[in-house]
Symmetry: C2
Subunit: 698 residues, 2 copies
């Protein structure tokens, strides 16, 4: 779908133009207030001759111009007719504010939306909405937003897509925000969130994409957009509701989007280097930081410069808790700083400069240059609180010092870090913005944004498998668990190294096979119908000879006969008893939207009591597998701790990639896979699959 | 020390009054700008006849009035002489801005401060500073603050003590802050932080105490103040630097305060119900929330009411991550809400009201009352972003709705929760403040403050032992580790239940004792000089009979002879082999300031790999001990999980209290205590001390 006639329309008509408050009136007022060139703007209302002093047409047809964009402010019943009429005027984009569609949750609403969707497709009109707040294209001055906001210049390079109109209003009302586009997508099932994202990924005027989302429509299209953004190094910041159980329900009921599990979203965002924000303010601050800096620092290595010990302490403590890296200064830097600062100062990073250098902008510039000359430093954070009313002249001295340094050609990025929240003095903020220095929000948001920046810089898309194994078959078929042997066979055929063992179905076979195995062995009931073999007395461990093997065989069959009389029995599995290693759990869970995800964690209490596991989208490569393990709190146990030797992590990584390949190949039918436990031995000794379960969906 | 003549002075003189910027000039300007009654304010400067249009005296002596407070703006060299002169005028309080004292870190500075301290004591003058920013008493209009801040009414009920002048400036510059007192204490070694805290705890005009601190001078006085505040239910909010390693160093070097370990501060704050803030903004927002509400909610049970799905989702997700409790509404409440809201709304808590009720303040009031009538709800959070410029008329409808509800006698507390940071429109903020409704800061700070409020409400000081075992003897003596038997004996004499075992010093004694013990036994080398018995081959487990016992005896002695030839050997300890239980570690660590702290955690990987341990100040009672265990992530292992039975938690709790009693009784000499492992058996089966180590300091 071509969004140019919608988002970059060269001519537009407001249908339902009005002077009253409401969609028609507010849209007209916003256009008149914000748009400079009104030559190809038309107001339409059969009941009026003029609206807000401007000519008003009786109908679209009456207008003697091509109308690329129709902004439909009238009620649901009029929409389809108006679209048909608009088409005759060359319309390719429309905004539909009306509600009463799928958001009602009832059949009537869903049908109305389906009808609208079909018509839009038939007419080839890109429809924003329904049930939306409109959009503003600040680059080309295309205004269709329907809510009143404070008058202010908002042009910048953040492309914002929102599944909530209220979010758009909040961001527009914030003095700091600078957009290329702000789009309130409403129900978003005709032109989807993925379509807008696609547009912004390719749009040259957009350097950062910010999204408030409740869910996606087309996971494959979504992943493709994320891939291209990652390859272009265009940051995407997303706030997605639903981290908590209650939040998930609210997101689902609000737009009725099909929600993947929240953890799956985290995993997908991790893969594609998407930044996830916890709330609107974090979304905005992070996007602003990324879009205001003239270039991102080469490495996330910060210097923190402050004018009091208390503030320096906050930067140290908060920086530490948000993972901000403050490298130590070179001895050369420390020496210079010592010569500038009062004798009682002990320079370090974070640096308490005291107020000493702030009385003179030249002195301040010298201090700043000294810090910037340090080869370990890539970005400088200047701690100073700028409030609405600036009572402290220090701020101007610092500004002048910073300006001098920038003008002398220093290019390492700088940001201002205030300690108290507030609207910043706009004169001061604008001065800093002009020289490429953003003013961060209050510390919790500032350090969140800096932490996101740090991770974004470290993200390297060439190390990632930039795709998802989205299933093409719809989920919902009958689920079928395979027996242990069948599960293992399936895995083995896909190249996953494991020992199968043999199935015995009589005393005689037990005795015959006893010559082929190495005692001790383990014997387990083999049946598609029995998932929990121990629970029915279907497992005997540590069988030392053929006599014990025969006895175990009989015990198992007897137990199962009593406790699971209806199970169809394939026989008894007999396999070498594996030496005990560190227990790992490897699993594949299928996410309804994003397809199979690999789960890894240490066995025993770690996954179950501490919830210590990693989840990551399939397919994955070795580096991604290794990162999954490194992300475990219990990774120390694999690396070796408390006197134990390191485990064979390379072998685990290979196993993980094999499992990923297996799951990708079977993405349409694989419902669940569990390798539990996977024994991991000392370095060079490999792994052993002790048990496996595959569940398929027909 | 009586602080009334300092902080509540009825007459004051500024010595070094001036018109220039700097201490003298800025203090004079601040007094003229803020203080209403200037009748007993005197400016002193031998070189001037007037200052800022007001008579200027040549000296203090020339003034024909009693001078309770001398504000000394002149340099260090003049201070002592001026104090002596001030004393002749009846002076009881002084502010000393001059620097060059202990903050320089050199001997000269320390001596100067010591001299000042001695003189202040001799003259009985309460000296604020040196190296401070002064103070403001907003209740009685006593102004001595030396830095320029924006002119504004700041009178409220938060008493603020700060070890950083810059913090005072930042808080004063924030539009929201309302103080009873704001005190920049400077070096704080003459009148100490504890003295100011004591004053504010007793001060009737102060309802909430906020502190920025780097360390305390007198831990016992500090604890006594915290105790009285807890008993009065006067909240104390503290921001203390030094959570991180770098932050700790900065705090220590800034004021040179003796810093207890950061974890010890957390533990002490926990005991006394002190709220700890991470930064200035959190300190301020939390204090403001607590001081603005007319009464605190009876229970931390919140309703969240919002006007969009996205915002409702943020409240759900952030609330969940900050531990905010949103009870479900009663069916009756849901029914009423359903009848008020559009059909597509699914009411719940958090509640998405949509914009439906916001067009009419009566409707909004009905919605709010419906929520407030719900018996599960004790406080309401109204989510709406109020920025500097209010463009959304909804805000006034909501305000009018809230006002109606408050005027109708609804008393459950209400707060406004904005989603974007900023300076709030002061008209709107003042309107809400007048009806006792605070406007919270942006969500990360708002939910931090609400989380602090929740914990504060739940804190019950009657369940705590409100004292610390602060040692009276200075640390630093020679440390001496006791052998296992001596350690156990010392514990046993204090009533801690454990088995001592017997010491054998010959083959014959082994044989003789073999009749008194129950095999299997364990034998261990017994020596004051060997702390790590296993490392020298000094332990043999699982000895099954007297023959093995004799052999073990000989092996142990032989090993020790080879590997620790210089150790003085008391013999070999022989004791019953304890049955294996869940392994716990109980320890006592001595904090340099706050005295002994109890440490508890599960053995094995839990403390060492996951760092999962609780630390709490001694003395403690059973409820406090139980809370320590409940705070462990691995508490699940004690409660029983994965099919295991619950452990004997009551016995562990009793053991913890006994250890606390022991440590309190030996607070002056006990350096360290380790019971590791302490075996914990199934419920009703008690505990077993397997090994113990006491380290004393002479």
């Amino acid at each position: 779908m071509d969004l140019n006639k919608l988002l970059k329309a060269r001519s537009l008509a407001v249908v339902g133009a009005s002077e009253k408050s409401g969609f028609g009136g507010d849209t007209c007022r916003n256009i008149l207030e914000y748009r400079k060139d009104l030559s190809r703007v038309y107001f339409v209302n059969p009941g009026r001759d003029t609206v807000l002093g401007r000519k008003c047409y009786k109908s679209l047809s009456e207008i003697d111009d091509e109308i690329e964009l129709a902004i439909i402010c009238t009620s649901q019943a009029t929409v389809c007719g108006l679209l048909r009429e608009a088409k005759t005027k060359g319309c390719g984009g429309a905004v539909v504010f009306a509600s009463g569609y799928s958001e009602t949750g009832d059949e009537k609403g869903k049908e109305a939306e389906e009808e609208l969707k079909t018509l839009a497709k038939e007419l080839d009109i890109a429809v924003l909405g329904p049930n939306c707040g409109g959009f503003n294209n600040y680059v080309d001055d295309v205004i269709s937003f329907a809510f009143p906001v404070e008058k202010r210049d908002r042009k910048g390079s953040i492309g914002f897509i929102s599944q909530s109109g209220q979010f758009c209003i909040n961001l527009m009302d914030s003095g700091d925000m600078r957009f290329s586009y702000a789009i309130s997508i409403g129900n978003g099932k005709i032109v989807t969130l993925e379509d807008y994202l696609d547009f912004l990924v390719e749009d040259e005027n957009t350097t950062v994409i910010a999204i408030y989302m409740e869910g996606v429509q087309d996971a494959e299209h979504f992943a493709d957009c994320l891939k291209r953004a990652a390859e272009k190094r265009k940051p995407i910041v997303i706030q997605k509701g639903g981290r908590s159980e209650k939040g998930g329900k609210i997101a689902a009921s609000h737009t009725g989007a099909l929600a993947g599990t929240d953890r799956a979203y985290d995993a997908v965002f991790d893969k594609f280097g998407v930044i996830r924000a916890d709330d609107m303010q974090e979304l905005m601050s992070t996007a602003l930081l990324l879009s205001t800096l003239k270039k991102l620092p080469a490495k996330a290595a910060f210097a923190s410069m402050n004018i009091s010990g208390g503030e320096t302490g906050i930067c140290a403590d908060m920086g530490s808790s948000f993972g901000i890296y403050y490298p130590d200064f070179e001895e050369e830097t420390l020496k210079k700083l010592r010569s500038m600062l009062p004798s009682f100062c002990t320079p370090g990073n974070p640096l308490d400069m005291t107020a000493a250098l702030c009385y003179d902008s030249d002195l301040y510039a010298e201090g700043l240059k000294t810090v910037m000359d340090d080869p370990n430093i890539e970005m400088v954070l200047i701690g100073i609180t700028i409030q609405l009313v600036v009572s402290d002249p220090t701020i101007y001295n610092i500004y002048n010092g910073v300006k001098k340094v920038v003008e002398q050609g220093y290019t390492k990025p700088i940001a201002i870090l205030p300690f108290i929240e507030g609207t910043r003095n706009q004169d001061v903020a604008e001065k800093f913005r002009e020289i490429g220095v953003p003013i961060l929000p209050s510390p919790k948001y500032a350090f969140s944004a800096l932490s996101h920046l740090s991770k974004y810089i470290a993200y390297d898309c060439t190390k990632r498998e930039l795709s998802l194994a989205v299933p093409h078959k719809k989920a919902g078929g009958r689920k079928k668990a395979l027996s242990e042997v069948k599960s293992k066979q399936m895995l083995k055929e896909s190249g996953i190294p494991l020992e199968l063992g043999v199935i015995v179905t009589s005393r005689e076979e037990v005795l015959a096979q006893a010559e082929n195995v190495t005692f001790p062995v383990v014997m387990k009931i083999e049946s598609d119908d029995i998932l929990h073999k121990s629970d029915v007395g279907g497992v005997v461990l540590n069988i030392r000879n053929e006599k014990e093997a025969v006895s175990a065989y009989e015990t198992i069959l007897e137990n199962v006969k009593n406790r699971a009389p209806d199970a169809k029995i394939n026989g008894v599995l007999m396999q070498n008893m594996m030496p005990q290693g560190t227990e790992l759990i490897l699993g594949v869970k299928r996410d309804a939207q994003f397809g199979p995800m690999l789960l890894a964690g240490l066995g025993g209490v770690f996954v179950e009591v501490f919830g210590d596991s990693s989840l990551y989208p399939i397919p994955l490569n070795k580096e991604e597998a290794r990162r999954m393990l490194e992300a475990l709190k219990s990774y120390k146990m694999l690396k070796g701790c408390r006197g134990t030797k390191a485990r064979d992590i390379d072998a685990v990584v290979e196993m993980m990639v094999s499992v990923s390949d297996f799951a990708e190949a079977h993405k349409d039918e694989l419902c669940e896979l569990d390798i539990n436990p996977l024994f991991v031995y000392e370095e060079g000794q490999g792994t052993g699959v002790a048990d496996a379960l595959v569940v398929l969906e027909e």
